[in-house]
Amino acid sequence: MARYKLGLLAGAAALMASISAVSARAETVSMFCSATDYELCEKGAAEWSKTSGHEVKINRMPQNLDDAIPIYQQLFAANSADVDVLYVDVIWLGMFKDHLADLAPLVPEDEVKAHFSSATDAARLEGKLVAMPFYIDTGLMFYRKDLLEKYGKQPPKTWDELTATAKEVQDAERAAGRPDIWGYVWQGRSYEGLTCDALEWIASSGGGTIISNDGEVTINNPKAVEALTRARDWIGTISPQGVLNYDEEASRAIFESGNAVFHRNWPYVWGTSQAEGAGLVGKVGVMALPVGAAGEGSSGALGTAYLGVSKYSKKQDIAADLLRYMVGLEDQKMRAIEGGYNPTVAALYEDKDVLAKIPFLAMAKSAFEESVARPSAVTGKNYNRVSRTFYRAVHEIISGADDVAGTVEQMARRIERDVKATD
């Protein structure tokens, strides 16, 4: 730890010296922050400003992350120097790799090594380090601890147990005069988020991850059909029909207003639901996602967020300095404690302050080990095609398709075509 800090100090000092040699005046670097952690991002950037003396101009990204792709695309196509530091989703790494600066010469090797190697390895493309991990996400199951205790229920281990428990608690609460309560809310809108949710149901039931790592389309199998049928039958029984158009925020609104027993979402919901003044403080439990059958792995969808530096930035050194601070131990610790964002710096998983604030982090480390990646690496440029075909078909199924097996078969044929669309 001490060595780490020393290295950081030395690096920072060297960098400061080189900057002051070039120009003594304060520069302005601009960065993109995602909508959900905007305040934390702002706070981290302000902290960096204080020590570095440079200004940070923050651009808020669209709430639906997919919508940022065209914005980035335009900036890149114009070789724009307007933005220096970029927020990059794990599934975009392949898409944007040619427009991101190689961080290997800009970030000292020991700083890179402080992060989970699985996260940094994913950002090493064609011999370049295109981004640094910012926080690590995986699908988690949030539940109303108080309600499960009230009815003497254990947190469910399998999806079938969850279905039964959700139904029982929901019906009992409704009978007790809370007509608006639902058993389970999640993300069923026709968008990338549904790919994550559905991949979790299928992978945790032994149905694979749509496409195997060696490129074979595996989605058409009985276990996948079974998992999707189970999800279809949730609609109207334990999940409101509205989930068919819920994204993360819409489903969180239901859970945090106290109208849902179970809720699948990303770790940030721990921060929002346990924030001061929130209605559910002390009433929420969190666990790894259930499995299809005992022996299967809990399969939260892996979603790591990265920060990268634009290749077209004219202030790459200062931008890299900001990036190093934002992904560094200190800022990640602040984000973990104040926002529940899971660090990628391994040392923080043994940090007392962090563990006190996010008690599930010790468990989350294993959830990350069992989590599954969307098939973005094996599909490369064709990932968005595959994902759209997948979530469209899943949406059709959960909207009430009768012939689940037939829809899956048709989906598999389309995905076969999608993966061959470009080389």
Partner: protein, 297 residues
């Protein structure tokens, strides 16, 4: 060469001079991008590096033509256009007739009905999205309170309701536009015609069919043309309300998916070109129909 000829030629030169900036701007912002799109439709270019490509003939056009998803989008767009423009025209005409009468506070009412039209579509869609929310929405609350329904309806999630909701929001937003254009047409009808009809004892409904409707028809036609072309390229409303939902996907969303989502500049441009051709064809048909009407008056 007579002096008048010379004067006329000088005039033509000046006219061209005045028009030149417009021509340049049109070339820059309309013709050039359109030409680029058509050009890329014949290549296999990708968005991350548009400068490297090969020509592939009509392959991209065939890809789009054979894609069932595209035809689904075309169908959605046509249903949306016909139904929404139809309702907007009827409502627009009815409201314009009401507003045409002089009454106290008419100016205020006219300004007030323009509010939905003045709001950005994304904002209106968001407002309705929340009002129609199945759990917290105002609409469901009112309907439940009134005893019309027992439980909130998932307006924006039920596949059978979704396109209807999109049409409803569009009608809410753009009916004022129709009202305004039709009202302008109504005000051009000379009052003497009505006076003469009244003197001759022509009944009210006949005055409407024989005087008002034929004379306001050109205004309605132009308004419908504008609205139809607008509706055919609709993107924002569907996308904000239901993202990539197959039930509400329009032709523009399809093209955007190919172009931005999949980065496929070739197929995306071919899809955009198809959209352009389809809208162009419909525009020509409508303009033709309007011309056919002309000999009547």
């Amino acid at each position: 060469m007579t002096p008048t000829d010379r004067a006329r030629r000088a005039e033509t030169r000046v006219a061209w001079l005045f028009v030149a900036p417009l021509v340049v701007i049109l070339l820059a912002v309309a013709i050039w991008p359109l030409g680029r799109t058509v050009f890329f439709a014949f290549t296999d270019a990708y968005l991350d590096n548009p400068s490297s490509y090969e020509f592939v003939g009509f392959a991209n056009f065939v890809t789009v033509w054979e894609d069932a998803t595209f035809w689904r989008a075309v169908r959605n767009t046509l249903v949306f256009t016909v139904v929404s423009v139809g309702i907007e025209t009827m409502l627009g005409l009815a409201i314009a007739l009401l507003l045409h009468r002089a009454f106290f506070g008419r100016g205020l009412v006219r300004a007030a009905i323009l509010i939905p039209w003045a709001m950005p579509m994304v904002v209106s869609t968001r407002i309705w999205d929340w009002m129609l929310n199945d759990q917290f929405g105002l609409i469901n609350k009112v309907l439940v309170e009134l005893g019309i329904i027992a439980k909130g309806i998932a307006w924006t999630a039920d596949p059978s309701l979704l396109l209807g909701v999109v049409i409803f929001i569009d009608v809410w937003v753009t009916t004022p536009f129709m009202v305004l254009l039709i009202l302008a047409g109504l005000q051009l009808i000379p009052e003497e015609l009505y006076e003469a009809a009244e003197v001759s004892g022509v009944p009210h409904w006949k005055r409407f069919w024989s005087i008002t409707l034929p004379l306001v028809a050109p205004a309605i036609g132009v308004a419908m043309l504008f609205r139809t072309l607008d509706a055919l390229r609709m993107f924002d409303l569907s996308y904000v309300l239901a993202a990539n939902n197959a039930n509400t996907m329009t032709m523009s969303i399809y093209a955007r998916d190919q172009l931005i989502g999949f980065q496929d500049l070739g197929v995306g441009s071919a899809a955009s070109t198809w959209v352009f051709l389809i809208i162009g064809l419909i525009a020509i048909v409508i303009v033709g129909l309007l011309r056919l009407d002309r000999p009547h008056h």
